[in-house]
């Protein structure tokens, strides 16, 4: 089921079923590898729907790039099943990012102070952990990001 997301002037279609199904298949295994339960990267207060609408497009763009650059390519171990699910989700992120990039050039997907601050807090927390544990934690928090997308 394709969900149409409106970020200010940008409109992006997102295959929520495939991403939720893909994540559901790897959720327990991924989250069980995350021993740092006292750390959360994507806080409810930083959610997309709690972000000013004019900043949402840019903040969402940051999050997509964050996952593509720092997370998916770090989580390549695990069995074939796990890898296929991660790459399918990554491909979804890539196509969303392409659509957003088109929109970014055509209209201003402006990056305000709030979007920059929120992204910085996520990145700082991520960088305080060793890279593999951080990537596993971020992957395990995909359901939080998907909830944010669903509510946007």
């Amino acid at each position: 089921s394709l969900k149409q997301l409106h970020f200010g002037h940008c409109m992006v279609s997102v295959d929520m079923y495939e991403m939720r199904k893909g994540f559901g298949d790897i959720k327990e295994m991924t989250q069980s590898q995350d021993q740092h339960t006292s750390i959360r990267l994507l806080h409810g207060s930083h959610s997309l729907q709690n972000t000013k609408s004019e900043d949402r497009c840019c903040f969402f763009h940051y999050l997509l790039k964050f996952y593509l650059v720092n997370v998916f390519n770090q989580c390549t171990e695990g069995n074939n099943f796990h890898q296929r699910r991660v790459s399918r989700i990554a491909n979804n992120f890539l196509s969303i990012k392409k659509e957003l990039t088109l929109c970014d050039t055509v209209t201003t997907c402006s990056c305000g102070k709030e979007a920059n601050q929120r992204y910085e807090q996520i990145l700082n927390q991520f960088q305080r952990m060793d890279s593999h544990s951080a990537a596993v934690k971020a992957l395990g928090e995909l359901d939080i990001l998907l909830d944010w997308i669903d509510k946007t």
Binding site: G24, K27, D34, K151
Partner: protein, 221 residues
């Protein structure tokens, strides 16, 4: 009071398969007893943690209990949070180590019960009225919470099946009432209703049938 674990030797085998079972956001923790130990003398204690914090919280209802489940709805009622829970067993001055549950996301990990609905009919129409599904409520005496307050995307998928002609219509409604017109009189229609929230979160089907009334012209002839 709960035996102080540190003073005990924790050599018992641990509880197994600790997991949340959630229906309409009533979140109950379940587990299996440790293997190879007579169950009748075992007692358990449960703690839970809000993911992203470091403090394991005691639940007063879930301390020194002998059953292998405990209702953590109250402690896990903030749906924006995610949770872990853990269980420890005690027996005759000894204890087990903790066994932890997988991470629990109330919003996506709950199961939705099929909705209740009422049917009424006239000569050429039927009306479907769905009872808005309730969730576990913090204070069940006077503040029922409804699923649609928590899930703004909630909708009802309704199917109407003409049992005579074997034809079917599908409707997708946000409100909890549907009136279907231009039907055939004196015909049995079977209706199913499903709660749909998001791709992997929907209820089973509730089903009922009703007959439209006889054609009034037919009655007078």
């Amino acid at each position: 009071a709960e035996p102080v674990a540190s003073a005990l030797r924790c050599t018992l085998p641990s509880p197994r398969n600790v997991h949340f079972v959630s229906r309409n956001l009533k979140n109950v923790l379940h587990w299996l007893p440790p293997e190879g130990i007579p169950e009748d003398k075992l007692i358990y204690s449960v703690k839970y943690l809000v993911y992203g914090t470091a403090r394991w919280i005691n639940d007063a209802e879930c301390r020194n209990i002998s059953q292998t489940w405990c209702d953590l709805s109250h402690g896990t009622s903030d749906h924006k949070e995610l949770y872990h829970a853990r269980v420890k067993a005690f027996l005759n001055g000894s204890c087990s180590s903790w066994t932890e549950s997988p991470r629990f996301n109330p919003l996506t990990d709950t199961k939705i019960d099929p909705p209740a609905f009422a049917l009424s009919s006239a000569e050429k129409s039927i009306s479907v009225i769905v009872a808005a599904p309730k969730t576990w409520s913090r204070n069940s005496r006077n503040e029922p919470n409804y699923l649609h307050e928590i899930y703004p995307t909630l909708q009802y998928n309704v199917s109407v099946f003409n049992t005579k002609k074997k034809t079917q219509w599908m409707f997708c409604i946000k409100s909890n009432r549907l009136d279907v017109f231009h039907l055939e009189s004196n015909t049995v229609y079977c209706v199913t209703v499903q709660v749909y929230i998001m791709p992997l979160l929907f209820s089973g089907l509730s089903k009922d049938c009703i007959a439209t009334l006889r054609d009034s012209a037919f009655k007078e002839a």
